[in-house]
Structure formats: structure tokens, C-alpha cells
Point group: C2
Chain length 321, copies 2
């Protein structure tokens, strides 16, 4: 793809992986099995990368404290995915059974709590400001998940509602990673704020693309089922745009309102959405957001890390999984 | 009951309640409704009390930071109860529907995460040592819950296994409250360790009594269903003792192994357990633990707070709800 955003920090990311593996250890056989299952899932490591790249782009030398914090972000992210999958009734993630499918809902609830606590523990020695920010971000994230649930199967969500939900759910956590990295490099407030603005936009674009992939079915390449968001009545941007289509919209809206749509209806809705310009509009929006975000980085001196931040942003828009 | 342990700190506890109410606020109608539901449930506030009493008994003057930390302990505790109730399939708590029964499992998962994060946020300005300890305690707690799940319906659990599970699940979190309170009063390490030892034992006794109440049905007075632990196959101390009864044990063991025991079998098991000396042995054990814990407090100068700590410990053994 040409987006080699991780090359400049590949040593750091290897260390982060080792820290994660080390933090997720247990003498209990089944617990260790689940930890291994989680760590071997091949996540994209976008959050630690955002933290480390922001840090290095601000001149930081990425000491142990930064690596531990970056690892903590990934573990907390994994924890939220485990709970999200329960809540979205997702059976497959990254081509494999989700934790609750493989090990029961109960164990998945506990695993999420456990990994959330491990993440905070790993972050323990960090500055109070960081812990406070991460806790606030976690609060906002959970609130946004809650609000999203309230909107399920209700085709009344506006683009503004959607943007506000994904801001809290996805963009703020990614912002927190970048902000922390820059803060730990001792960057000035101005620089920290610009990098935060960049990361927030990248986070917004990331979620829009995620929601596109649910429609285009490209996700199948990574083993997810297409159309899950429609099945769950999750009001994503492609769905919002598609429902506004004067010709095809009404039927899409009808299916979206169904609490448990049949496989046929789901297929029909996906097909109809793909025939509107919804996906194209979303792609274009995500692209605009990212391109408009890049100037935020003009505060930074040129470096391979700055280049990587830009590549990472563009990779996020162009990815197909 | 004569156990007026809360009188010496009733002003502090009123302030803690106000902090909790203030931390659990939202513009979203349903979110606020759930917060109100949680805060009006009439919890016993044992964790904040333990924190404040330990603090004041060590000569602390209970400033805002201590009150906020005490409130954080209660919120984190409430968060774990919400998730525990999902995992134990409990329908009733404190005489009312549990969160997942009233608002769906999904919302209960999110609410637990949200309140956990709010607790950590409230603790944000605290010393790193405290945050680290609370995070470690949360880890241990979740691990213990996990181990307990592995033992479900398996009548092979020993008293030692049980004590190790409740140590992580209940006693360590109560220890963390006391330790934090003493630490924030600037107490010497020796004193902090003695108070921690006391609180750990009180926590162990607390859980043993909780498990007795599930058998004796006294819990009905607070609206819980008796026998839930047997239904869930949770290996509690009264069950372990009862199964070891040479005459009645084998039948109790049989029912305990059933994945979904009928109402009749449940009633039969409860009746049989009550006819063994299991409850009496547990009561006596809890009592011994608490009485042996009290000498830990001899390090402390006499004060009404020290007296309250002792009353709190004895209240915990003698409570019927």
C-alpha cells in the first residue's frame, strides 16, 4: 500500500508488544490462554503508534515510561473491544471467534474489567495529568457507547449526532494517545494542542472508514461479517446518508427499524445502501477530514516521525480492513 | 443493633454521598436515571467508612482529597457490583431489580465501565502510590472472579481455595480502602501495615457472612433471593463445609454439581445445608477472624474512630443483611 507508517518506530512497537505480553501473564491456565488469544490477534497497534509517533515527532526519545504508557493504551483498547463485542453481539473479530463467543459472556465481562485495570496499573507511574485524562477519556467513551445504544434502530440520528458519538467513542481515545505522547516529550502547550487536533480528526476519519467497511464488506477479508451495524441498528454515517436518499432511502429506513432483520432483509439493505452515493460521500468526508488535519502538524519540525504521522493518517483512510 | 460505627463520621459520609451524586451526573435523561437508581439504592457505604475511619484513627483531618478518594472507592465498588450481577445472573439487589434486569445487559456492561472510569477519574489527583494500589487491587479482584468462575459447580474446592478467592475478591479491596486512608493521614509504615492487616481480616469475615446469608435466607429481608450461590454453583464456605458432612454431604454435592438445578432441588439443598453445622462453623470462623483482627489496632491511640473501626468489624459479623 505504500503506507509504511510503522517503519520509523518498528523497534519501539516490538518493545510495546513485549510489554503487553509481560503485563498479560497469569499462573492460571485458562487466563493465560485468553491473554495469548488476545495478544496474538494481530491488532493494528494504531493507538500505541499514535502515542509513540507524537512523542518522537516532538523530539522525545521514547523511554520506558512512554513505551509502558503506549502499551497501556493498547491494553485498555483491547479491554473495550471485548466489552463492545459483547454489546454488539459480534461473533467474529479479526477472523476469529470473539472472547464471549469462545469463553462465555461472563468471562468476557471479567476479562474486559481485568485488562482495563491492568492498563491503568501499567500507567500507574505516569503523571497525574495523564491518568486524569485517560480516565476522563474512558468516561467519555463509555458515555458515547451508551448514547449510541439509545439511538439503535432509530433512523432519526443526524450527521451531527453521529459525529458527536464517534468523537467520544473513537476520536477522543486516539487524541489521548497523541496528547500523552507529546506531553511526555515535554512539548509546549501549543504543540500539544495542535497534535491533539490532528489526532482527533484522524480518529473521526478512522471510525467513518470502519463504518464504511461494514457496508462494503471489505471487512470480510479480515473475517468480520458485513452488515453487522445494520443488524444491530447502529446509526452509522453511511446508513444516515443512505436513508436520506430520496428513492432508495425509505426502504433502507424500514429495514433499519427492524429489531431483528432477516438475512434477506440485511442483504437487501446492504445492496440498496451500496447503490446510493452514501459510501462515496463517506469516503470523501473521511478523506477531507484527514487532509485538513495534516496542516495541524506544520508546528512540528520535519522528521521521519512527522512523515509517519501523515502516512498513518492516510493509511487509515485507505485501509480495507 | 448497638453497632453505631457510622456515628463518629456521619458528617463525612454525608459529604461522600454528595460527592458521589455530583460525580454521577449527566445531561442524558436515561443515564441520569440509572445514576439516580444506583445512588439511591442504600448501599452500606462500608468501603468509604473504612477509608475515612482508618484515616481519622491515624490522626488525619479528612480533607477534600480523602473524601473524594472515599467516594471513588464506593463508585468503583458499585461498578463491580453491576458487572457481578450480570455474571451471577442476579435479578434482585437491595430489594430492587438489578441494572441489567431493568436496563439490559448491554447498558449494564457500559454502566460498569463508565462508573469504573469515573471512580478512577475522581481518584486522579491522588498520589501515584494510591492509584497504583487501586489498579492492582482491581486486577486481583477480577482475577479472583475469574478463578471463582472456573470452580463453578465443581465440588472440589477446598477451604484454602475459597479463602484465596475471597481474599482477592473482597478482602483486598477493603484493605485498599483502609490502607489509602491511613496513608493519606501520613501514618508510619508500621501503622499502615497493621491497619491493612485488620481491614483484610474484616474483608474476609465480610464475605463469609455474605455467603452465610445466601444460605440462611436472611438476605430475603433485603430483597435478595436465597440460594443464588448454589444455583450458580458458586463454591462458598458454607457449601464446602456442608458437602464435607458425612451423612448429608453427598446429596448436597449432587445438587451442587447440577448446571441448572430445579427450584425443588435448590430448596432441598438449602434445607440440607441448614441441617449441617456448616452455617454455625462459618459464623464461628468469621467471628474468630474479626476478634483476632482487633489486636492489630493496638498500635493506634484510643479514639472514637478506633472504637468505630471495632464496631464496624463486629457489625459486619453480626449483620443480617
Amino acid at each position: 500500500m505504500g503506507h509504511q507508517w510503522h517503519l520509523s518506530i518498528s523497534d519501539d512497537l516490538v518493545k510495546v508488544d513485549a510489554i503487553i505480553k509481560d503485563a498479560l501473564r497469569s499462573d492460571r491456565k485458562e487466563l493465560q490462554e485468553i491473554y495469548d488469544y488476545v495478544t496474538s490477534s494481530g491488532g493494528k497497534r494504531i493507538r500505541p503508534a499514535m502515542c509513540i509517533l507524537a512523542h518522537r515527532a516532538c523530539g522525545g526519545s521514547c523511554g520506558d515510561d512512554v513505551l509502558h504508557t503506549a502499551a497501556a493504551f493498547e491494553i485498555i483498547h483491547d479491554a473495550t473491544l471485548i466489552h463492545d463485542d459483547i454489546n454488539d453481539k459480534s461473533e467474529i473479530r479479526r477472523g476469529r471467534k470473539t472472547i464471549h463467543e469462545k469463553y462465555t459472556v461472563t468471562k468476557a465481562v471479567i476479562m474486559g474489567d481485568l485488562m482495563f485495570a491492568i492498563g491503568f496499573k501499567l500507567m500507574g507511574p505516569a503523571d497525574r495529568k495523564i491518568i486524569d485524562m485517560v480516565a476522563s477519556t474512558s468516561t467519555t467513551m463509555a458515555e458515547s457507547e451508551f448514547i449510541q445504544k439509545e439511538f439503535e434502530h432509530k433512523p432519526i440520528v443526524t450527521e451531527k449526532d453521529y459525529m458527536s458519538i464517534i468523537r467520544g467513542k473513537t476520536a477522543m481515545p486516539i487524541l489521548a494517545c497523541a496528547r500523552t505522547g507529546a506531553f511526555m516529550a515535554g512539548a509546549d502547550d501549543d504543540v500539544i494542542n495542535e497534535i491533539s487536533g490532528f489526532a482527533l480528526d484522524v480518529g473521526l476519519a478512522f471510525q467513518i472508514v470502519d463504518d464504511i467497511l461494514d457496508i462494503t464488506g471489505d471487512r470480510l477479508s479480515m473475517g468480520k461479517t458485513a452488515g453487522m451495524d445494520i443488524a444491530e441498528g447502529k446509526p452509522t454515517l453511511p446508513v444516515i446518508y443512505a436513508i436520506s436518499d430520496t428513492v432508495l432511502g425509505p426502504r433502507i429506513k424500514e429495514i433499519f427499524k427492524e429489531k431483528e432483520p432477516s438475512h434477506e432483509h440485511l442483504k437487501e439493505a446492504l445492496e440498496l445502501i451500496r447503490r446510493t452515493d452514501a459510501v462515496e460521500r463517506c469516503r470523501s468526508k473521511a478523506n477531507d477530514i484527514v487532509e485538513n488535519a495534516i496542516p495541524h502538524l506544520s508546528f512540528l519540525k520535519d522528521s521521519e516521525y512527522k512523515d509517519s504521522l501523515i502516512s498513518l493518517a492516510r493509511y487509515i483512510v485507505n485501509r480495507d480492513r
